[in-house]
Point group: C2
Chain length 352, copies 2
């Protein structure tokens, strides 16, 4: 049976990335050694890191005022690392709480300084985004989750603010060309659109660092990682390499413009299918719907179990909604082919 991988993350990767990753475990780059067995300070691996950084900068069209780091710990680490490096009692963090992940960012930031929740969309179960943000005087930075993986919303136009903008782009990084330069710090766990679990990309404008006086442990200090060229200690070698392979694939396929074209086509087909079949409904405000994660429900909730059962039988992987939300979630990251969305929509029609 052919499988269709709609996992929300770790998620589907391009077949050629998997092929090359698998081969590199036997023989990396004709060195005769496995990618798992080479030193991280060898020129072999330093070249991997440097090419990955350069590719990120090309895709984002950013200059040397930004630094690209490959760290560990996922977005959950960034929820505390961002405020530890940027926030103190002299300012306050403005954070949008538009769902599970934004909410965690709020909780962690509070350990390091004052926090203002400038948008809380829990009144409508996070089915929309509030774009009218009022930042209090003394705001140090604004933090947004650019795509809410769990709830299915996505910022399609970023807020225009006069303080540093921080973006958790874990689930929509590189899904389209976007205004990366509006941001002063972007982070993304790799396991959705740019590789396998185990590495977190951080892109930071150097000028925002060094402004808090607290002593920061070395491993959590962006500045120290920058000075060490993202090789402060043993990095997650294989995960960084898989990210490089994925970044290469994005460029080879036509870059972010091509990703957007494909992602828009997939999302349009799926949302049209949902909206045109009364057996399903999507509660997310149309203008805020995510092109990465479509969250929707069966009009008759009693039919959900049999729909999920049918999905399972037909090889549709990972379409059960997040445990706190329920319903159906279909994730359509860069590597998911249109044919999978077509197969899923066909199944919806048949079920309907």
């Amino acid at each position: 049976m052919q499988l269709h991988n709609f996992n929300s993350g770790p998620a589907i990767l391009p077949k050629e990335v998997l092929d090359e990753a698998s081969a590199s475990i036997h023989n990396f780059n004709n060195t005769g050694l496995s990618i798992l067995e080479i030193g991280h300070r060898t020129s072999w691996f330093v070249e991997v890191v440097e090419e990955a950084k350069a590719t990120v900068k090309r895709l984002m069209d950013i200059g040397d005022d930004y630094e690209v780091l490959f760290l560990q710990g996922g977005a959950t680490m960034q929820f505390m690392q961002v405020p530890m490096n940027l926030l103190d009692e002299n300012g306050s963090a403005a954070i949008c709480d538009n769902g599970v992940w934004g909410n965690k960012a709020v909780k962690e930031a509070k350990l390091f300084g004052p926090v203002t929740v400038v948008s809380d969309t829990s009144d409508k179960k996070h089915t929309y985004l509030n774009k009218q943000l009022e930042l209090p005087a003394g705001t140090t930075y604004l933090h947004i989750t650019t795509n809410n993986t769990v709830e299915g919303t996505q910022w399609h136009q970023y807020p225009q603010v006069n303080v540093p903008l921080i973006g958790d782009m874990s689930s929509d990084i590189f899904c389209r060309p976007t205004e990366f330069k509006k941001f002063d710090l972007i982070y993304a766990g790799a396991q959705k659109n740019m590789g396998a679990a185990g590495v977190t990309m951080v892109v930071v404008k150097k000028s925002i660092l060094g402004k808090v006086s607290r002593k920061i442990p070395a491993i959590l200090d962006y500045q120290k990682h920058i000075e060490a060229g993202s090789l402060l200690n043993t990095p997650p070698v294989f995960s960084i390499y898989v990210s490089l392979l994925t970044l290469r694939w994005i460029e080879k396929e036509g870059g972010l413009a091509e990703m957007e074209k494909r992602n828009n086509a997939k999302a349009t087909l799926l949302y049209n299918t949902i909206d045109s079949h009364p057996a399903f409904y999507c509660p997310i405000a149309k203008e805020d719907r995510s092109i990465m994660n479509a969250v929707f429900f069966l009009t008759d909730p009693e039919k959900e179990a049999s729909f999920l059962d049918l999905c399972k039988k037909q090889g549709m992987i990972g379409v059960k909604g997040y445990r706190t939300v329920g319903g159906i979630r279909v994730s359509m990251y860069n590597a998911l082919p249109m044919s999978s969305v077509q197969a899923f929509c066909k199944l919806m029609e048949d079920f309907s």
Copy 2:
């Protein structure tokens, strides 16, 4: 040319671990999916984590008073995470500074409370271990680096103390049966003896936690990781899987007793070769020599470059000493075959 991989870490892994890791990237456990594409909360992956934990407990012969965690960030993260969870102003950390890594542990601990360096072996360039430790009253815990990867020393009998004992076992974990139960917390980056870079094992006795009042960010809180069964957030899936494969290999080969037998045989051959050829000398006190990392020098330092050149020509990988120490370092982790040490000793004899 046959390569001999003496890398200090990331280091050599058993061929069958590499074979299975490579295959799992195409088809993990007959799921039809890549190990890089499966959700970390699927029963498939939960089973991986649970088997890895259980194998660690069997190898260490420890009970349910300990918890096994698979975290990120390497020993460098543990240098700050240990004191963040255990140390405050009401006590003090006693730390042995026997080289590069112990020294970093000292620096990071100082951010969280008082620190006493109870052993500083820099007077003799860390070529020995001081085993007569005097712990000041009020010591919260004693931290040792069980094997000094850079300097080539190893604790062969752990200190007997009446405070919790913490061990950084990154470079000698599972090299032999040992008194794991003497420790209240053991951590180890996986990339030497138990897998690939990207995951750090922490084994912690639950009773030592919860005694400091500081608020700990979720991702750094051992207690929260325990409550979440080591799945607090997206873990480094592939690295954990490679650790499981390596743990399985250790058991299948005969467990820690067999590892010790092999490692002792390799180390004995190498140190005997060094000691019996005046062209080489090992400055490390005999009783403290590491069976994992042999650090030695050429008696005539001017010949070092030509020796390293010969090593390179004969496929000996990773034998240059650490940048601050110089000389030669031969790492002989579990997966390194005796034949590689024999080949290296043959080369030493020829050169001599």
